[in-house]
Symmetry: C2
Subunit: 348 residues, 2 copies
DNA sequence: ATTCATAATGTGCTCGTGAACACTATTTTA
DNA sequence: TAAAATAGTGTTCACGAGCACATTATGAAT
């Protein structure tokens, strides 16, 4: 465990050359004779040289610059938490020579996305963490990254075969299964289930499909007939109330409602207004949702820990850059179940 | 945001003195004239000097040594995870000049505890993170720490008025409430509840009391009569089976069982053997528990994330030592609810 | 006024790395 | 063969803080 750390000077002595030569070998700068090279190489292979990061950092001023590309929270408040995660990581890593630059784009304007990623490509970054919000534009961006040898890491939105070193996010199918299981534990045998998708133009509808399929998957395994599961697609621009009330009127045994995104508070509001009592499950710790959770109108919230997405993402990048660690191509983090009783520690 | 970092040299120039004088003022080493002192002080006040940690670390070889005092996992496998947390933190912080030394004691031998903490007191540590397993011995240790000015941080076991800078742990009352709520959501109105304490000599029984009181607290608020809640105290050296079966035979409506520690798998085994079906809630992701969770015999596990206890503890210490941050006197982390469906990400 | 003590201040080296630079040895070109 | 080019190697400085040591200034004592 207590392996001595070798310095360039140590190696130089062992290989009977000067520090400069060792440096040239280590960094492959050339201008080294075959004999000197092989002697240094031999020593290097034997001792597993790890450069002193502290000294590197002191010398270079800044070891790495990392870019983060994500939507600004003034457009969508969901993004406030991920930004907090970035700030946390920034505070932690700045003193050791890692600079983090944040590029916020407008999530309803792909032009602003392009503009920001161009800046990143023109900067001199060691890596980039990106929420690939726009599909087509992201593919272009990824190609450009590859061309300039810039490693990219994605979070929040998963893109198949993106070529990213790692994706950090939540397993959506699993989160749907979790919702199904939670609901199934509480509901009785004959009760029926409702899945509500509340669409926004912005949000990726793939997300919701994955969640629904996980939900159905679990219930099927638990012996719930497909006919007991109802689905409601509502666009946010329409009124939510009429279709919901209609459905609840039609199906009397409908005892559980699963809302596949953070807009669950809207449903909670309608239920409260009409004094209806249903088991209600949704996503994310928005203020509105927390309020209804505390009031007992929402039973379970599934939490993506958006803050963790970015802080974990940045940490992964640093592991990659500094320690050349083996990085898994997907880093999932837990599907957290939040009820009123364990809420507190999640929101501080 | 983009505040320039001042160096000692910068300050020296601003105050028209030499680097050495600034150094003496910053460290209060004396040998400075009143005029020079006040000039430097003035500059210092204005610019908020933050010493360059990288340079400090390089110069001093190691910035801080932190001691961790906890039980070894060869005695109790529960402690394997906290140790992993220590290792994770070690890997992360060693390259920036923070050394972490672990002292493992035998949790059934207070002598070994004393022996290890003596070593720590004789070493030159900047801080210590301790699982204060033995109450009386810990008070002695804390006194000694105070005397020698060694800041101490506790985790896992909470000691009232310990004088620790921070305690890192889980809110036990809240975890009891959570168990109560989960169970109450599923059980019907007339159903009855059972709390099982499985004692080990080693474990602090305070823990279990806090959990039970949280459990009762919640159920009382939810309108469950105290008479509907039964308690079973079993010593691990006895046979668990007879008292449990007797209780279940006596009370027919007993539909939910809450085990206040990680020994829940023992109860699950008995239920399985006798083909009994009850809602079962317990603690921690031991292999045995996971097995029963997957088999559907355990419904919910409450998870303390033991790994997080130590890694968060060490991080807190570093914030304290390096950044002199305001540290809350208690750092709680979430009461995680684990079911079969969201298990996976918690165990990797 | 000169010597000595001491307070106050400045200088220089160290930590390990990176990079510019200087130097030597060998080969190429006129 | 002398001059020039180039390959190979070693030396030196800088990064910022900390600390030992050298230097200077100030006052006291003879």
């Amino acid at each position: 465990m207590k392996t001595k750390r070798y310095t360039l000077k140590d190696i130089a002595e062992l290989a009977h050359v000067s520090r400069g030569t060792v440096d040239r070998v280590v960094h492959g700068r050339g201008k080294v004779s075959k004999e000197a090279y092989s002697r240094v190489k031999q020593v290097l292979d034997k001792i597993d040289y790890q450069p002193n990061l502290v000294a590197q950092s002191l010398r270079k001023g800044v070891l790495h610059e990392i870019a983060v590309l994500m939507p600004g929270y003034n457009y969508e408040k969901y993004w406030k938490k991920p930004l907090l995660g970035v700030e946390k990581a920034t505070n932690e890593y700045t003193p050791i020579g890692i600079n983090i630059r944040t590029f916020l784009f407008n999530p309803s304007d792909s032009g602003s996305y392009r503009e920001k990623y161009t800046k990143i490509l023109n900067g001199r970054f060691s890596a980039v963490l990106v929420a690939p919000f726009f599909y087509k534009e992201s593919l272009v961006f990824f190609e450009a990254c590859k061309k300039s040898g810039l490693p990219y890491f994605t979070f929040n939105t998963y893109i198949e075969n993106s070529g990213a070193v790692t994706h950090v996010g939540q397993d959506l199918v699993r989160s749907g299964r979790t919702a199904g299981s939670l609901m199934h534990k509480v509901l009785a045998d004959g009760d029926e289930y409702l899945v509500v998708h509340i669409n926004e133009e912005l949000e990726n509808s793939m997300h919701m499909q994955d969640k629904e399929s996980g939900f159905r998957q679990f219930l099927a395994e638990a012996g719930v007939a497909p006919g007991q599961i109802h689905v409601l697609n509502i666009d946010i621009s329409e009124k939510l109330e009429p279709p919901l009330l209609q459905k609840l009127g039609e199906v009397d045994a409908l005892k559980g409602i699963y809302v596949t995104n953070s807009k669950v508070w809207m449903i909670a509001g309608i239920l409260q207004q009409h004094e209806l009592d249903r088991l209600l499950i949704g996503y994310d710790l928005l203020d509105e949702n927390i309020q209804y959770l505390n009031a007992g109108k929402i039973d379970y919230l599934i939490f993506q820990n958006p803050q963790l997405q970015t802080s974990l993402g940045i940490q992964t990048i640093i592991d990659y850059l500094l320690f050349k660690q083996e990085i898994p191509d997907k880093t999932f983090f837990p599907v957290e179940i939040v009820i009123r009783e364990n809420l507190k520690e999640f929101i501080t």
